[in-house]
Amino acid sequence: MTKKYDAIVIGAGHNGLTNGAYLAKAGLDTLMVEKNEFIGGATVSRALYRDDWKYSNCSYVCSLLRPEVYRSLNLAKYGLQVVPYGGSVTIAQNGDYIGNYVDPDTSRREVARHSHRDADATVRYDRDIMRQCRFIRQFLLRTPPDPTSFKPRDLLEMMYMGKEALKLGEDLIYDTLRFYTMSITDFLDEYFENPLVKASHSGSGIIGSALGVMSPGTAYILLHHAMGDVDGSMGAWGFARGGMGAIADAMHACFTDHDGETVTGSGVDEIIVKNGRAVGVALENGNEYYADVVVSNMTLPRTFLECMNPNDLDPGFLKKVKNFKIRGSSGKLNIALDGVPNFTALRGNPELIRGDMHLIDSTERLERAYDDWKNGIWSQDPYIDMLIPSLTDTTMTPPGKHFMSVFVQYVPPKIKGKDWTDEQVQQFGQTVINQIEEYAPGFKELILHMEVRTPRELEDEVGLTEGNIFQGELTLDQLLFNRPIPGYAQYRAPVKGMYMCSSSTAPGGGVMAAPGANAAREILGDLNKTNTVPEGWLDD
């Protein structure tokens, strides 16, 4: 007979860890169960090549992580250090590039090199994006209201949102309505004239999404990438020193420090439901654990379609889960390099190689990459977002050697409706390598080791259904009170005692920790425990 816990959290990804840490901080006897031997899920640093070589092999940069969570969980004390890297570059096929520099005047001159007018329009663009960031950030650590409900709490929250929206003022409300429903291409067309300038902004509109840059709704996805910050510098991105796993490690240290227990190495076979109430979990290794509260940090489909008995759920609800849109669209190569690749276009620019490097030169080219995905194949001319974190974080690799993270858009969850074969995975890897080689001759010779990840690998290893990095697409039908499913946006599962805290829930994906924190607040409220989850910091 095993002991009974107050709470069990399934999945030690960053949201599960955040959730568990807040529950443990509130004094709940909390158990974390994780299918892998390692914790972190997709927020992880792994030694896949050699012991002295760390790969952030899933998520690879940090910006969205809520600073309120960082501080209240004392992550700095538990060893986390986030270092901004600054800068990015978009490299065109014609051998030119457009850089984004830490120094704003340098950045302005760089845009002016391509279009004088666009350099100035960037001010307007940044301002408008920042306005959207300010508006949305205040809702990230709040539980979405149910617009169909007449409960005082929901009505009050709806009123709060309405009030905040009206505060924007008439013109900005219209801007906001348009922003949420436009395509990133149309949005950029209202600011810029130069194709490379547009291309340099467009990637953020489709990363991780099953949409093309010309699909309405992609402007919001850009916001989802821009609303983070590093030390208040909005839109900035940073590296977690030691790889993304450092974030999970710090969260886990906090969890453990508050007497949380962790079991790794066996996944959940089934969430045990008795008399309509979740009472525990049965692991694949046969062990069973019981608790008053079960929190799933697995994706929505994985939770309800794979780890529960359908008889415990309403068929209508199950249908909605099946209709949840979680199509993967990204792949990743993690590469150990013998040295720094030489991108011809950069002509040795020492600054830009330290940031994001994008290979794209027009929105049209990016849209064509999407057409391949729709057609059930990986993009033959893919969009690539590369980073070499080891240029900034020397703990990642031995001196002189480098780790390169290569994020690729678009990669379908299945090839023409059929599962990926190993051979296709390798072919996909070659497509990407060939693409990089074109921009950086000699690149292939630097490769010491390479891990190729398609949606298949992402799902198999860290449980991202269909390989969708946001654990559910970020479209209007799956945002805010619609996420993950209308009527279930407040982190409660349809089974009593059961909650959801993964990125499938609001406010969505990215290493943000907001779903985990928001779910913890709801759980603690239901249990009448002291709330340990902080309120969002407002700026003004």
Partner: protein, 517 residues
């Protein structure tokens, strides 16, 4: 020569201009409609495209507002339907087509589940379309703290709440997404999905997978004139009969309609509109000018951007209006033989959209300035219902064909022939004898539509119909209430709320706005 008149000038005698004229004249205003062409009706006019053969660009009536029709007495002004409540035949090359009507769908390849799902789909889509329909005849509210605006917004919100919890949730879920996903959730049959997806993308710059396409599907279903939501009719005498009836109603109410009078310029006296100038140089003065031309043409060309603030000019200039629908008219020697389609079905609405993927692939081309290699089409043979449109025993085939981007990469001079060839190839797959039956043809590309009917971008909505260009965002924030920032100048065309389709609502609402100022 300056003719003095203290009254309202309406630029353009399309259906909205005429409806606006009728309402204003009924309210006692002295109204003059100035139409550039030799006849009223704009794109709805019935024109002879080959000797003895007539057709109108807009070819099906599915959105004409019932209220407007009654208020203006269109029936007593000569409007009657040659055929009402057309079914849709989803064509299949093997003849195994589906027949889709307002309340059921039939066809050999269909499962019982899909038949049931169709009923449910129609139920909730009609319900949601009803909400859009309820907005048709309102001047869009602004989003301000003003009590009137808040009341109007509250009323809209209440309508949504009145759907009931489950339907409200579903509406809030699907309103902003794409028809591809919604169809996939509901149906298995590829042909059914293809045909239904076509309704969502006709006349737009979007494919089934483009978000907003649920909204455009709902918009198309928001008509109420033929009983069921979105049901289509063919007026006797072609679509021109609708605009002729509107013109008759306007004249009866006292409006003057001058055809062959193209306006070249809107005149200003200081900050106030003072009239218009015609191409010939004639000036006509008026303190109120209502433009049925698209907003971009109105502001950037007729008025001149210098007469408005730069921020407003930029917004107008940014209106997306890239037309993608071409119009095909074929003069036929006799009825064509569509495989598997019985003669009595030939008079229905025939669509070529075999799968959603096919439609999406057709759309892919226009993103890059190419026409669809395998186009989609909505086809009618109106002469079956209205023998006046063609000589005895002959017929007219009228089709909307997509996608044909306004700015074709190679230019339409060069591309038109090739596109015609692609269309014939596609049509022949469904009606093998179509080439030999054709005695004359006309293909109007968006470029032609722009030149012929002065629709900016050749777009029948005068501006892309999408959520970011809808209601108080249409045509642009700041003039969504039909009144432009220029004193005395109003919009009344499809570029305004509630958009295109022969509806008359924009004209009516504009009249309301003029009268309330």
């Amino acid at each position: 020569m300056i003719s003095k008149m203290e009254s309202v000038i309406i630029i353009g005698g399309g259906h909205n201009g005429l409806a606006c004229a009728a309402y204003l004249a009924k309210a006692g205003r002295k109204v003059t409609v100035l139409e550039a062409a030799g006849q009223v009706g704009g794109a709805a006019a019935t024109r002879e495209f080959a000797t003895g053969y007539k057709a109108s660009c807009a070819h099906l009536l599915n959105l004409l507002d019932d209220g407007i029709s009654k208020e203006l007495g269109l029936a007593s002004n000569g409007l009657s339907m040659a055929k009402s409540g057309l079914n849709t035949i989803a064509l299949a090359t093997d003849g195994n087509h589906l027949t889709i009507s307002a309340d059921r769908v039939d066809g050999g390849s269909l499962s019982g589940e899909d038949q049931a799902a169709y009923k449910e789909y129609r139920r909730f889509m009609s319900k949601y379309a009803g909400i859009i329909a309820a907005m048709h005849n309102m001047v869009p509210p602004r989003i301000t703290q003003d009590r009137g605006d808040l009341m109007a917004l509250g009323k809209l919100a209440l309508k949504v709440r009145m759907l009931g919890r489950d339907d409200m949730r579903e509406l809030l879920r699907i309103a902003g997404i794409n028809i591809y996903d919604v169809l996939k959730e509901n149906f298995d049959n590829p042909l059914l999905k293809g045909a239904l997806s076509l309704d969502a993308v006709l006349g737009t710059f979007s494919g089934p997978r483009s978000n907003n396409s649920v909204f455009t599907a709902l918009h198309r279903m928001s008509g109420n004139n033929a009983g069921a939501a979105g049901a289509a009719s063919i007026p006797a005498g072609g679509m021109g009969a609708v605009t002729d009836a509107l013109a008759a109603a306007a004249k009866k109410a006292g409006a003057e309609i001058r055809t062959g009078s193209p306006v070249s310029k809107i005149l200003m006296d200081g900050m106030q509109v003072s009239g218009v100038e015609l191409t010939g140089g004639e000036q006509i003065s008026a303190t109120t000018v209502v433009s049925n031309a698209d907003p971009k043409t109105t502001i950037m060309e007729l008025l001149g951007a210098r007469h408005v603030e730069a921020g407003f000019a930029r917004k107008i200039n940014n209106i997306r209006a890239k037309g993608n629908a071409a119009k095909l008219h074929l003069a036929l020697d006799g009825l064509p033989d569509f495989t598997g389609v019985s003669p009595d079905q030939l008079g229905e609405r025939l669509v070529i959209a075999p799968t959603v993927e096919y439609v999406e692939l057709a759309f892919n081309h226009c993103k890059y300035g190419e026409f669809s290699a395998n186009p989609v089409a909505e086809i009618t043979i109106p002469s079956i219902h209205d023998t006046a449109l063609a000589p005895d025993g002959k017929h007219v085939l009228s089709a909307i064909v997509q996608y044909a981007p306004r700015n074709l990469g190679v230019g339409w001079n060069e591309g038109k022939g090739a596109f015609m060839e692609a269309i014939f190839n596609t049509l022949s797959a469904y009606a093998p004898d179509i080439r030999e039956k054709t005695v004359a043809s006309e293909l109007l590309t968006p470029e032609d539509l722009e030149n012929e009917f002065r629709m900016g971008g050749g777009h029948w909505h005068h501006g892309e119909l999408s959520l970011d260009q809808f209601l108080m965002l249409r045509p642009v924030p700041g003039s969504a209430q039909y009144k432009t920032p220029v004193e005395g100048l109003y919009f009344c065309g499809a570029g305004c709320h509630p958009g295109g389709g022969v509806m008359g609502s924009a004209g009516k609402n504009a009249a309301t706005a003029v009268l309330s100022n």
